[in-house]
């Protein structure tokens, strides 16, 4: 889509775009190309020597069981978090759309975790599951389970999944609710006249019509679990115990800033960029198709 | 005040599409010219070239003595009323009218005077503080007019200004626009696809089709002597009937193809046996007695409108025969299945070239 009428002028548009383009070049394009460049160099931590090593950094990375483990853990973490937060949000949204009274009130009480920083969300759950004084730890102990995410990798993973999902439900809920409210009532009524009960209507009419929203949310949730959850991991588990919660973004950070492995960290950055670009392209392909039809 | 001249005006879009193929016309001072044609005929493009919203590819447009091709819209001293009114939604009625004057640094008291005068003329005095969103369709239309009036321009440009209104309001606003234009005496260019609007408003019409001005003339002249089959079919409602025919060997009339009907017509300029397209307006077909009838139509659909009755039917002949619409007195009773004998005055038989559509004789 393009405007039919435009203003003339050569310098005005340049000035208008200058700030955005400058910041993009300095803080986005330049660092990204630096990452690309460093990913093919071997450099010591003090920058005294550098050597061009082609794709060695990548080869080392993919030969490193720690990195491959981290890949697997990230995949597990992302899919469980996405499934959990999408599922819960869908159930809540369908219920909130159903009730005649109180939709707005329920919405108010369900959406506010969106405003909580991931790191803060991590702290909230960290405290509830604190091995010595946590309320829920106490409850679990009462039920016969000794919770300790300091020592038990599974517990730690469960903790970051809970914290990440808790925060994301609100976002998904809002989109599902908006999607449900956008479905024309007449369609649902027509289905009811055609003899479909509430569950059948959901399965055959509402859920298919909601699929663009679901797809959009799926991509957003994966991106969220990949990147925005850094705060949760850093604040409550620092990747531990024994790397059990070292997801990819955390590893980029810890290898680069703590391990000072510049080439390795840059190579990981490049791989992550490829993941984001793939997800974005995938999403836009889909949106274009949706628009076309 | 000033007239408006088009000489050899053409529009070619960057993608190669040619919208206007060379218009030559002049609009007298104070005249209201209506540009009428089907959608896509280039009429809006022509108007927008006058406004300065589209570049002129070739030719020249003058307002008064001034060549305006290179001028910015604001410097052409024109005012435009848009189809969707294009009122600034966040400004009051007063501010909408005053905006252009403020941009031209008109003194504050002069702005107040002009807006007050326009508001009085258009009965908008009580609405000056409202926003466009709080107005009815007709009121918004008036504000759009007011915005044009306060600028006291050389030329008014109207781009289908009535097409967003309902039928009743459209008739009322049509009269108001005409009255206003006559009292202000401002040269006006008015674009519409509605031929009734065109006939009732215009001092002169420009009938456009496919980027070409098919005919320029006074409404009744265009109605009586359409220059082409397209103009003949476009102007007049219900539309003119077209029947393929050949000039009779006797040189006294035409024979409607496939039916054997013969019509008396002025065909002296045509060679015998020549194929022609006969145009008959529904209102010119008059009921006749059985033996004086030139045409007999078999009615298959009747629309009774009260004042008159439209009878649709075919001329029987070999095969289906050509379709024909007749306008009859409302008091006359016609039923489906009737055969109505008709006659038509030779003056009302229009002949066109079947190839290029041009009027013959």
């Amino acid at each position: 889509m393009e405007k039919r009428v435009v203003f003339s002028g050569r310098w005005v548009p340049v000035l208008l775009l200058a700030p955005q383009v400058t910041i993009t070049l300095v803080f986005f394009i330049w660092p990204a190309s630096q990452a690309l460049y460093q990913s093919v160099l071997l450099e010591d931590a003090f920058g005294l020597s550098r050597k061009f090593v082609w794709l060695d950094n990548f080869r080392i990375l993919f030969a490193d069981p720690l990195y491959l483990d981290s890949f697997g853990r990230t995949a597990f973490f992302s899919s469980v978090t996405a499934a959990l937060s999408l599922g819960l949000a869908l159930v809540l949204a369908v219920m909130a759309d159903r009730v005649i009274k109180g939709t707005a009130l329920y919405r108010t009480f369900l959406i506010w975790p969106y405003a909580v920083a991931p790191a803060v969300a991590g702290v909230l759950w960290f405290f509830m599951f604190n091995p010595s004084i946590g309320t829920l730890t106490y409850l679990l102990r009462f039920l016969g389970y000794q919770w300790n995410h300091y020592l038990n990798g599974t517990d730690a993973m469960a903790l970051i999944i809970l914290a990440a999902s808790w925060k994301q439900v609100s976002y998904n809920f809002l989109f599902f609710l908006a999607g449900l409210q956008a479905i024309p009532r007449s369609l649902v009524e027509a289905a009811a006249i055609d003899g479909a009960g509430p569950f059948k209507r959901f399965r055959t009419i509402i859920f298919p019509l909601l699929s663009p929203t679901t797809f959009f949310l799926l991509v957003v949730n994966i991106v969220y679990a990949f990147f925005d959850t850094f705060g949760i991991v850093h604040a409550i588990t620092s990747g531990g115990p024994a790397q059990a919660t070292t997801i990819l973004v955390y590893k980029v950070y810890s290898d680069g800033f703590i391990g000072l492995d510049l080439g390795g960290s840059a190579a990981q950055s490049v791989i992550l960029m490829a993941v984001v670009i793939a997800l974005t392209v995938f999403q836009f392909r889909y949106i274009e198709r949706k628009v076309a039809y | 005040m000033a007239g408006l001249t088009f000489s050899g005006v053409r529009k070619t879009y960057p993608n190669g599409v040619r919208a206007v193929h060379g218009i030559d016309a002049s609009v007298g001072d104070g005249e209201l010219i209506v540009i009428v044609g089907p959608s896509g005929c280039g009429k809006s493009t022509l108007l927008r070239m006058v406004a300065g919203l589209e570049a002129i590819s070739e030719g020249e447009i003058r307002i008064g003595e001034r060549r305006v091709n290179e001028l910015e819209p604001a410097d052409r001293n024109i005012a435009m009323v848009f189809q969707n009114y294009a009122l600034y939604p966040h400004m009051s009625v007063f501010d909408n009218m005053a905006y252009g004057l403020r941009n031209r640094r008109t003194p504050r008291n002069e702005i107040a005077r002009r807006v007050a005068a326009a508001a009085k003329t258009l009965q908008l005095e009580d609405l000056l503080a409202r926003r466009p969103g709080q107005l009815s369709g007709g009121q918004r239309q008036r504000v759009a007019m007011g915005r044009a009036i306060v600028r006291e321009p050389d030329v008014f440009l109207f781009d289908e200004p009535l097409s967003n209104l309902d039928a009743r309001l459209r008739v009322q606003m049509r009269l108001e626009i005409r009255r206003l234009q006559q009292s202000l005496g401002t040269t006006s260019l008015y674009v519409t696809h509605d031929q009734v609007e065109a006939m009732t408003l215009a001092d002169r019409l420009i009938v456009m089709n496919g980027g070409v001005a098919e005919q320029i003339g006074r409404p009744l002249d265009v109605y009586r002597h359409p220059a082409t089959a397209f103009v003949a079919g476009f102007i007049g409602s219900p539309a003119m009937n077209f029947l393929p025919a050949t000039v009779a060997a006797t040189g006294s009339g035409v024979i409607i193809s496939g039916t054997g009907h013969t019509l008396t017509a002025a065909v002296t300029a045509c060679e015998p046996q020549r194929p022609v397209l006969v145009g008959l307006r529904p209102e010119h077909l008059l009921p006749a007695s059985e033996d004086s009838a030139a045409l007999k139509v078999a009615v298959d659909l009747v629309e009774a409108l009260g004042a008159d009755t439209l009878a649709h039917g075919i001329l029987p002949g070999d095969g289906a025969g050509p379709a024909l619409t007749v306008r009859l007195e409302g008091s006359r009773r016609v039923d489906v299945g009737d055969t109505v004998p008709l006659t038509v005055s030779p003056d009302h038989v229009h002949l066109f070239d079947p190839g290029n559509g041009n009027r013959l004789v």
């Binding site: 002028g9 986005f28 950055s269 | 435009m80």
Partner: protein, 282 residues
């Protein structure tokens, strides 16, 4: 709903109430913890009912902070967070509006290139390029400054696209009428386009304020000087005490304070917030 199924209604309300409770549980526990003295959180289990030290704990953190976080008063951290959030929100909105205006209402060489350049930033979250970005900011000597905290996060493809979409829906005739009325591009921007964009700007501001306030990784890297800590980073510093149980009652008070401004913004400006969020999908 269409047919009467009373038990389905009851079930719906039950599920929703359960959802609300689970959502609120962590906050309740945090709030309770922030109202108790230090010793009641030392062992056993955290209390379930508020204590009597509400004002005392909050006054302590706001005033003098915790030694673990460099004894910076939390009040100051909140101030830093506020400055950073406002700079990011306002900065993003301003540069996005003018960039979108340039792209939509002008034709110039390299227009498509600029468009794609901005588009690419959509694909590069700060998390994936932290090290080199940190390098750039360090070499520009922007570490430990409000500029360093905010400017690198200001370029935003999302906001630019939102405004572009919105400008494309503004009727063409409005720009034409403005041109005939003698308004140049900047006059059109300020007199017509910005007033029309008011709700969009407000909605985006809500979203971006929350985005800015909640930044974590970036402030963590660029602030080594405690006086530039934002509150979210401050909490992490308070937690990271070696070999000792953290001062939970004060940390929980700080946590409540860290959540308060963005949560209030979401609840008080719910309509704008939802509008701002949902429009990102389109």
């Amino acid at each position: 709903m269409i047919e009467r199924r009373p038990w389905l209604n009851v079930l719906s309300h039950f599920v929703l109430c359960a959802g609300v409770l689970v959502t609120a549980l962590p906050i309740w526990i945090t709030f309770v913890a922030s109202t108790h003295p230090a010793d009641s959180l030392m062992s056993g289990r955290a209390p379930l009912w508020p204590g009597a030290h509400l004002f005392e704990n909050y006054a302590t953190v706001l005033d003098s902070g915790l030694r673990a976080a460099g004894s910076v008063p939390v009040g100051m951290m909140m101030w830093n967070s506020l400055i950073m959030a406002l700079m990011i929100a306002v900065g993003k909105i301003v540069i996005s509006i003018i960039a979108a205006f340039g792209i939509v209402y002008f034709r110039f060489p390299l227009r498509r290139t600029c468009f794609w350049l901005i588009f690419v930033t959509l694909m590069l979250p700060v998390e994936v390029r932290i090290l080199p970005t940190f390098g750039v900011v360090a070499s520009l000597e922007m570490l430990n400054s409000y500029w360093g905290l905010s400017v690198p996060l200001i370029a935003s493809a999302t906001a630019t696209f939102l405004f572009r979409q919105f400008f494309l829906t503004v009727p063409e005739e409005l720009a034409e009428a403005a041109r005939i009325d003698g308004a140049g591009p900047l006059k059109f921007l300020f007199d017509i386009l910005l007033p029309l964009s008011r709700t969009n700007i407000a909605a985006l501001f809500v979203i971006l304020f929350i985005f800015g306030w909640n930044q974590y990784l970036w402030p963590l890297l660029v602030t080594t000087d405690e006086s530039f800590y934002t509150i979210v980073v401050g909490i992490q510093r308070m937690l990271a005490v070696d070999d000792a149980e953290p001062a939970w009652h004060l940390i929980m008070a700080t946590t409540m304070l860290a959540m308060l401004p963005p949560v209030l913004v979401v609840i008080c400006m719910q309509r704008l917030f939802i509008k701002g969020l949902i429009e990102q999908e389109k």
